[in-house]
Structures are given as C-alpha cells and as structure tokens.
Amino acid sequence: MALENFISTFIVVLLPAFLISLSLYAIRVIKGPSVTDMVLAIDCITYDLCFLMGLLSILFKIGFLMVAALALALWAYVLDVYVAKYLEAREVGD
C-alpha cells in the first residue's frame, strides 16, 4: 500500500508540467506565420500526449489503454509527409 500511494502521488504531482507545456505548444500553433510551423508544433503535441497516455495508464491500473498511444504516434508522421508533398510538388497523388 505504501508503494501504491507513493507512485500515485508522484504521477499526480508531475501533471501540471504537462498542462503548461501543452499550452505553450498551442500558442505556437496559433501564432505561427507559416504552415510548416504549425505542423511541427502538432508533431510535438502528439508525441507529448503519447507520454501522458502512458503515465495515466499506470495511474488508472487499466492495461489496454497503452495501445492507443502507438496509433497516435504513427498517424502524426503521416500528416507531416502529406503537407510536405503538397508544398513541394503542388499536387498530391502518385
């Protein structure tokens, strides 16, 4: 019981740092003067949310919640490639 209380308190104390860093990345998404700035900040927000999902699955003691983080990380890479392909060749497709 002492170990469980210690780990739960440790994770809850670390949570406000995530809210601050998510807000700062969101400020860059709103302010960015070009499209590539915004896509880079979305990239960073997504990988940050993956880490937050891992911590919360230890806190809630449910084991199947970690699988959603893997899909989130892979689809964020695909968005990068789409926007880069549009900007470079002015057309999307084969």
């Binding site: 590539t36 940050d48 891992g54 230890i58 970690m66 990380a73 990068d80 900007l87």
Partner: protein, 132 residues
Amino acid sequence: MFIFPELNPLEEIALIIGIILTLIGVFCDIVGSIGMVRFPNFFVRLHAATVGTIGGAVYPLFGITLMSLALNYLGVMRYFIATGAFLTAIAIVLTAPVGSHALARAAHRSKTVPVEPKVCDFLKEDERLIEE
C-alpha cells in the same frame, strides 16, 4: 532493499532508473516548449522540436517500461503496459526524424519560409551552382 522494503533488489533498481528517466523527460519537455515559443525562425525551431520529441517522449517511454515491470500491485497488466510503451518508443525513434526532415526540405525548396536572421545559406549557393 534500500528505500522500498517490499521489492527484490533487481526490481528496485529498475524502479529507480525508471523514475530518473521520467524526471528527465518532464524537464526536457518544459525546455522544448519554451524554446518553441521564443526562437526567431522556423529552421531554428527545429532544434527545439528535437529536444521536445526525443528528450521529451522517447526517454520517458523507456522509463515507463522499466517502471511498470517493477510494480507488483498491477498484476498481469504490467506486461501489457511495458510492451506497449517499448514499441511506441521505437516507433517514435524511427519515424519522427524522417517526418521533420521532409517538412524542412519542402519549406526550403518551395520558399515558404524566408531565411531572415541570416548569417550564411550554403544550400542556396549549392542550388545555384547545380543549376548552372
């Protein structure tokens, strides 16, 4: 045995390393997000994004893997969490640099971003030499 009396020595080493990696991850996360707001150009913000993704998401996911293998009160679920975190860390290491490199190449070649506080631009000189 040193701090937590109810674990093996092997599990306790894994728990302490996991906690240290998680604290490094939270620190790198805050530093990366401050850098994204304050840097002057897109090409300089790529450095801050590297700290934010690799230092802020890959290291702490390895830390969660080690931390979750040591906790006995989770039951069978600790193996699910450990495997998912390990595979997500490997996926981020393999795909995040490719994505940001493709984005930077498209931004330079299509002239979307002007290179403003500029000292020297070797890529533009090389492109002019290739065209001649």
